[in-house]
């Protein structure tokens, strides 16, 4: 798609919900954007760099808690918490990646999985209770639209989330297109050749992990602002699995993939719930497995296959 096409798509995405979506639908769309950014972060490290992480829910949690604590205890305005949360998450990601990234992908998967399991316990831990609010979590206020803009709080939160989301997607797209992006993919595909060409593998892997944690952390902040509430049990293993499912469904090493993945993880559980009230998880699982059989490369691979037949790519004449 051309650059103008993308800009038009962004404007449509911003305008359509503004005029047509109800409060709850708007909230769901806000979450879709949030998840898309989180999955984008996961995609950078797993899809482009080949490092499997099963614990990105932990970075989402750190981002969400950073925003909530700053807003609740230090009266920082919501928008100003984003850069702080990004920096905190990047540092945290760097530290976690440091021991694990020197090793094979499976070890990182295990470490991050353990991290995902440990996070709710750490958030509940009584030494941090003064800040984290313990089991109860923290309630934060919904931001008002700035400059007296004529819109509801929900609409503003959606637009704000969309804006931050677009910035994250553009930055990531530029990152993977450039020299660093090529180095990331070289490490994934041919680590030896990459090292021989002078890429500092351990350093680049750790940095990629930090950038990935940063994106997912920003998503966590956006999620906290949208939900207006953080609590330890919302950030356990299921959340990390949700991101991973979204990543796999969307397809690795793709910038548009996370959008499909986010739509899947936000809406398919509801559909599964409507099909079977008794065992929604089973329906969800079957749908997931079915999708893996139909498109082992995720939705992004379907898009790639379909692209030549789309009107804007068809040769005229």
């Amino acid at each position: 798609m051309s650059r103008t096409g993308i800009i038009i798509a962004c404007i449509l995405m911003a305008a359509v919900p503004y005029f047509f979506a109800s409060g709850y639908q708007l909230f769901q769309l806000t979450l879709v954007v949030t998840y898309a950014v989180a999955i984008l972060g996961l995609n950078l490290v797993t899809g482009y760099n080949g490092q499997v992480s099963l614990g990105h829910g932990a970075f989402y949690a750190v981002g969400a808690y950073t925003t909530a604590i700053l807003m609740d205890k230090f009266d920082v305005p919501y928008w100003a918490t984003l850069p702080i949360s990004a920096a905190v998450c990047a540092g945290f990601g760097f530290l976690i990646g440091l021991p694990a990234l020197r090793l094979g992908g499976l070890y990182l998967a295990l470490t991050t999985f353990a991290l995902a399991v440990a996070v709710p316990q750490l958030l509940k831990y009584r030494l941090f209770e003064d800040y984290t609010g313990g089991v109860q979590g923290i309630v934060i206020l919904k931001p008002d639209p700035p400059f007296g803009l004529p819109m509801t709080g929900d609409q503003w939160v959606f637009l704000f989330t969309l804006l931050v989301g677009i910035v994250c997607f553009v930055l990531s797209a530029n990152l993977v297109k450039g020299r660093i992006g090529r180095a990331m993919m070289a490490i994934r595909d041919q680590p030896l050749a990459a090292e021989a060409m002078g890429i500092d593998i351990a350093m680049l892997k750790t940095r990629t992990f930090a950038v990935s944690a940063l994106m997912t952390g920003i998503a966590g902040s956006l999620g906290a602002i949208a939900v207006q509430f953080v609590a330890p049990d919302a950030f356990g293993v299921p959340l990390s699995l949700t991101f991973f499912v979204g990543f796999v469904v969307g397809g690795g090493a793709s910038i548009v993939g996370p959008i499909f993945g986010a739509i899947f993880v936000e809406f398919i559980p509801n559909i599964a719930d409507e099909i079977s009230k008794a065992a929604p998880g089973a329906v969800y699982g079957v749908l997931l497995i079915a999708l893996m059989f139909l498109a082992p490369g995720g939705c992004a691979s379907l898009v790639r296959k379909a692209a030549p037949y789309m009107p804007w790519n068809r040769k005229t004449g």
């Binding site: 797993t46 021991p99 020197r102 499976l106 999985f113 316990q121 969800y284 699982g285 082992p296 490369g297």
Partner: protein
């Protein structure tokens, strides 16, 4: 001192269970280079089958045997129907399938058997503690069962030609196929075996933690940590690692971090192993030919 010993012994008992699951994980990992995230859920589901059989009046050991056979059949079917067609697909697709399976087993178990905690009978009797009061009867019995299982698996791989064929298929599929080993069948058998071991672990852990659809979550993590501590390339190491993690978990939970941070111990163990001795205590340092 008695308290410490008691913690060590119950650590050995739960360690045995981690060791079984760790062994199941390592078996599937060496054969396919996949980590089966649904391993714990499959074990949990088999345990429900055992409970249903026992409640229907089947004697314990009869139910025990039927459950193992059931678990092995399920494991084989899963491999044949779901994993084999994806053999040449990207690794991430099979991870997606594992996670899908995890959801399915968890949800179906909750649907059929409800999410309430259920007590699970122990075959070893409720009588008083043994060995000077350090071991409960169930702990002693389940450790014995675990040791027997682990020993038979080792003997199976070491001394039978089927075991040799399975090792060959995992080690070098192409050459194995050339000398006439049916690699696909061996992989399916490996899955069946791993699933059977998981079922035994499930039935041994259920009397301690009570049976519910989320029973295996923590167990799987400790098993991961055990496999890593012992060396994920080495089944015997994984077993010893499982026992060690059991002991560390119990001692740490009782004296250092308290029960509320018990699961975080697994994270600390994993990070410590990766930083200090990445190959694990008994693992081989893998060198790759350039």
């Amino acid at each position: 001192m008695d308290g410490v010993l008691h913690q060590v012994f119950s650590g050995i008992a739960s360690g045995g269970i981690y060791a079984s699951i760790a062994l199941a994980l390592v078996m599937i990992f060496t054969a396919t280079h996949h980590v089966n995230f649904a391993q714990g859920e499959m074990a949990m589901f088999s345990t429900y089958i055992a409970l249903t059989l026992i409640e229907a009046g089947v004697p314990y050991w009869g139910a025990f045997a039927i459950t193992i056979v059931f678990a092995m059949v399920v494991g084989t079917i899963v491999q044949k129907i779901l994993m084999e067609p994806l053999m040449n697909a990207p690794v991430l697709a099979s991870v997606g399938v594992f996670i899908g399976l995890l959801f399915i087993f968890n949800s179906v178990a909750g649907w059929i058997f409800t999410y309430t905690l259920k007590p699970f009978p122990t075959p070893f009797g409720e009588g008083g503690p043994l060995l000077g009061g350090f071991f409960s009867r169930h702990e002693l019995g389940s450790t014995a069962i675990t040791v027997v299982v682990l020993f038979s698996v080792w003997a199976f791989f070491r001394f039978t030609s089927l075991g040799l064929a399975m090792r060959a298929a995992a080690f070098n599929p192409v050459s194995s196929r050339l000398v006439g080993v049916p690699v696909a069948t061996m992989l399916a058998l490996g899955w069946g075996l791993a699933s059977g071991i998981g079922a035994i672990a499930g039935m041994m852990v259920a009397p301690i933690v009570f049976l519910d659809p989320n029973m295996m979550g923590g167990v799987l993590l400790y098993a991961f940590a055990g496999a890593l501590l012992g060396g994920i390339t080495n089944p015997l190491g994984a077993v010893l690692g499982g026992f060690l993690v059991g002991i560390i978990e119990n001692l740490g939970g009782a004296y250092i971090v308290g029960t509320e941070l018990k699961l975080s111990l697994a994270l600390i163990i994993i990070v410590a192993v990766l930083t200090l001795k990445p190959a694990g205590l008994f693992g081989k340092v893998l060198a790759s030919r350039v």
